[in-house]
Amino acid sequence: MDVQRKLAILADAAKYDASCASSGTEKRDSQGGKGLGSTAPGMGICHSYAPDGRCISLLKVLLTNACAYDCLYCVNRTSSNVPRARFTVDEVVQLTLDFYRRNYIEGLFLSSGIIRSADYTMEQIVEVARRLREEHHFRGYIHLKTIPEADDALIAKAGRYADRLSINIEMPEETSLAQLAPEKNVRAIRRTMGRLRLKLDEATEAKAEARKTPTRAKPPRFAPAGQSTQMIVGADSATDQTILNTSANLYGSYNLKRVYYSAFSPIPDSSRALPLQAPPLVREHRLYQADWLMRFYGFEAGEIIDPAAGMLSLEMDPKLAWALRHRERFPLDVNRASREELLRIPGFGRKAVDRIIDTRRYSAIRAADLAKLHIPRNKALPFIVLPDHRPPTYLLDGARLAERFQPKAQQLGFGF
């Protein structure tokens, strides 16, 4: 089988993994040395976008889509009838370098079906990264999927070459994983995440130490872009509240950089045990928004969702829905409110809040300024007080407020 055919199969097999980012790693480049590549610390670069709206940043492939496991939600499970292929280590290495030189990608995201054993699979994955780094002096981004229960030495090695490591938690609840992926074990996944966190913490401490005594040798690196995970949404009956609780637990426990939510997607040759439905893309989007609120806006997992519903509203974003349930906290005076309060106003993004705090020391914010701060007026005005604006009390107290934000279903519709 030629490389192109293999690529078609093994990229197809990897497309259900939502993680794509090439962000958050250390600064590296190839100038003045031999080798190829650099990283863009902070924000990664998306080199293209697919018609599914998702960014193409990394060459995302599986080493092989043969797998000994039979996870029902997965296209690569052993009982699936998809065509199988397997890259050699060299083929992946060459493809990565070739794509990189043309500026198609930021690097490689390598995963694999589990073949033979956890250790054997992990060894193969690590070998690709080792060759890229040591033989080709590749300085681009590498994201490796960690196989749970792989040997500690292999994990340490993976962290030496990779920018980011990930292990997918797969399901928001342990019980659904037991049902859908009988060979996978949440406890093993969590233990591996715990091991990764300890190693990440150690590396951070060593780095801080080294900074204090600059003469010392550089501490060994370990996955400078940290670890991430993915949860499939909609393949089981877990509520959004359960999902957010699980995420909060994972963020706190393992200091994850990201939890990716992947709407369960009908897969070719899918299992009878699963519902065949269109993927709940809006739900996925709302979960990302809620996740964002937890990570950057100071919200707790337990307060984002209406406790009576257990689910995020599909009609409006979670912050707006929260504000409508907490009208007693509004209206807030934009020229007086604390940063924490400003962050809770619908339509107020982090950058806008920073600018407001800067600006209001010199000049009061007025209604006409909202546009310059890129704040949507309609969304924000009912909740704020400005020198030239005060929402009428009947608006905040009345039942009509929520209606204002409901999409006008008949008029909008969904574009085909």
Binding site: Q4, A8, D52, G194, L198, A263, P266, Y362
Partner: protein, 495 residues
């Protein structure tokens, strides 16, 4: 009317020099016009775009080139924020950018904190322009597609790109850092950037015909693009927001977008319509269910069994059961309260800060930790997540009770002569009732139904004490308590 002519579209130094002189000479923004060498006719053709269009026709003053006038020795300070903004905003394609910048500079002299006022119209306008430039730069980093000429190792990589703003010189260093070992050129209609492995050279713009039109890897890239796309989740608006159509012309994969979208619906339907396959029967052999004859619990058995304990809810959020550790027949058994953050991650008791405190105290008291069996009254970490950390929670009585089975079975397996209960939770588990530490602390309690017991504080209590003096005092008391253990051991071994 002062008419300033700059050397090029990206002549920041020329602009700065001229602007400085104009400010020092007290020339108001309305009395300056800015042009770029070679661009003048265009500006006159479009008088509507000039801020004070009328003055162009009236004034016949000669153009001033900034390098021509003698530089006054005077300088003045401007906020660093302005300089940063000006460096970027000046690359915008808007012909008025020099004038806008001068206007802001002019106002800054009277009002130095203006840069902090994001809502000021001049600041907001230039910030929006800088943002557009940054975005274009970012898109250039992303959407340049090199094509290979010749074959490795003698190949050369050439790209064609059409930037919206004057960003080539801004964006080129990124490519030099990234593709340091390649010889490359980025051709654009404005200017071209070339890298020979050592330095960036800038040459005049060329036409698209000068750029290579194919690459041996392009088909493979298109294969990847088509395969990584999930037809079941079409979101073309999201795609276009990030990859606007104006860039499509020079992206080889963009040719696939239309056919992919057209086939997506059909494919997704086919996928859903296809008959689902039955899940495979589990092929893995279950281990034979010959449970060994009930035998005395060895520690290894217990540890194994405790991994799956669900006797209370604490297992759910924790990473793993943190079971005791130490020699099977240790003389002393140390019992803590519950594992903490580090212990939960590592799966071992007393490896975190409290563990280090314990190690130190044991060593000072003359007790060899490796000869003791160390465990906790509750085997799972209890916490609430708060952002990136986990706040430790005290186990409740039902949890202590539920977990006591493990303590009792460990006790039976190890059969120590002395149990040291550290902290209230441990004391409650070991003595079987809520026990105030201060009353029982520091003396050996004889028990008919088991080993002797010593109650003391938990090392994490010492960590939490706020002032250094109290810390030192309490630590010394703790070591004293542990010295009892050492003495007791000596006696026991002598006997």
């Amino acid at each position: 009317m002062n008419r300033i002519r700059l050397d090029s579209d990206t002549d920041f130094d020329g602009w700065r020099k001229a602007a400085r002189e104009l400010v020092l000479a007290d020339v108001a923004p309305a009395d300056v016009t800015w042009t770029v060498a070679g661009d003048e006719p265009e500006l006159f053709d479009a008088p509507g775009r000039a801020p004070d269009a009328g003055s162009f026709a009236e004034t016949a003053a000669p153009f001033i080139h900034p390098a021509q006038s003698p530089s006054p020795a005077q300088t003045f300070n401007v906020p660093a924020r302005f300089v940063e903004l000006a460096h970027i905003a000046i690359l915008h394609r808007d012909p008025q950018r020099f004038a806008y910048l001068y206007q802001l500079l002019w106002r800054l002299r009277a009002n130095p904190e203006l840069m902090q006022v994001a809502t000021d119209p001049d600041v907001a306008r230039l910030q929006a322009m800088a943002k557009a430039v940054r975005r274009d730069e970012h898109k250039m980093h992303a959407f340049v597609r090199f094509r290979e000429i010749g074959r490795e190792p003698k190949s050369r990589y050439v790209a064609w790109f059409e930037p919206e703003h004057h960003i080539v010189e801004l964006a080129a260093p990124f490519f030099a850092r990234r593709f340091a070992d390649m010889e490359w050129s980025i051709l654009t209609p404005d200017v071209c950037a070339h890298w020979d492995g050592h330095a960036i050279a800038i040459t005049p713009g060329v036409s698209k015909a000068m750029a290579p039109s194919e690459d041996r890897l392009e088909e493979t890239w298109l294969t990847y693009y088509a395969s990584i796309f999930n037809p079941a989740r079409l979101k073309t608006k999201a795609m276009q927001a990030e990859m606007p159509k104006k860039y499509w012309r020079n992206l080889p994969e963009a040719a696939l977008i239309k056919p992919l979208i057209e086939h997506a619906e059909r494919k997704a339907h086919a996928m859903v319509a296809a008959e689902a396959t039955a899940p495979r029967k589990p092929q893995r052999q279950e281990p034979p269910m010959t449970r060994a004859e009930p035998q005395a619990d060895t520690l290894a058995h217990l540890r194994e069994e405790a991994q799956g304990c669900h006797a209370c809810d604490l297992w759910k959020d924790a990473t793993q059961t943190v079971f005791g550790e130490g020699p099977q027949h240790a003389t002393v058994m140390l019992v803590g309260e519950q594992p903490g953050d580090k212990e939960d991650l590592a799966g071992k008791p007393f490896v975190g800060p409290a563990g280090q405190m314990l190690d130190r105290a044991l060593a000072e008291a003359g007790v060899d930790r490796s000869k003791t069996y160390v465990t906790n009254a509750v085997k799972h970490f209890k916490f609430v997540p708060r952002g990136k950390i986990r706040l430790h929670q005290k186990p409740a009585t039902p949890e202590i009770k539920a977990c006591r089975q493990w303590y009792e079975r460990e006790l039976a397996a190890v059969q120590p002569l002395l149990v040291v209960a550290m902290g209230a939770t441990a004391a409650q588990s070991v003595l079987g009732r809520i026990t105030p530490i201060n009353k029982t602390r520091g003396h050996l309690i004889d028990r008919d139904d088991g080993p002797q017991v010593l109650v003391t504080v938990h090392p994490s209590y010492l960590l939490r004490l706020p002032d250094a003096e109290a810390k030192a005092r309490e630590y010394a008391r703790f070591v004293d308590d542990l010295k009892l253990v050492a003495a007791h051991l000596k006696k026991a071994h002598a006997a």
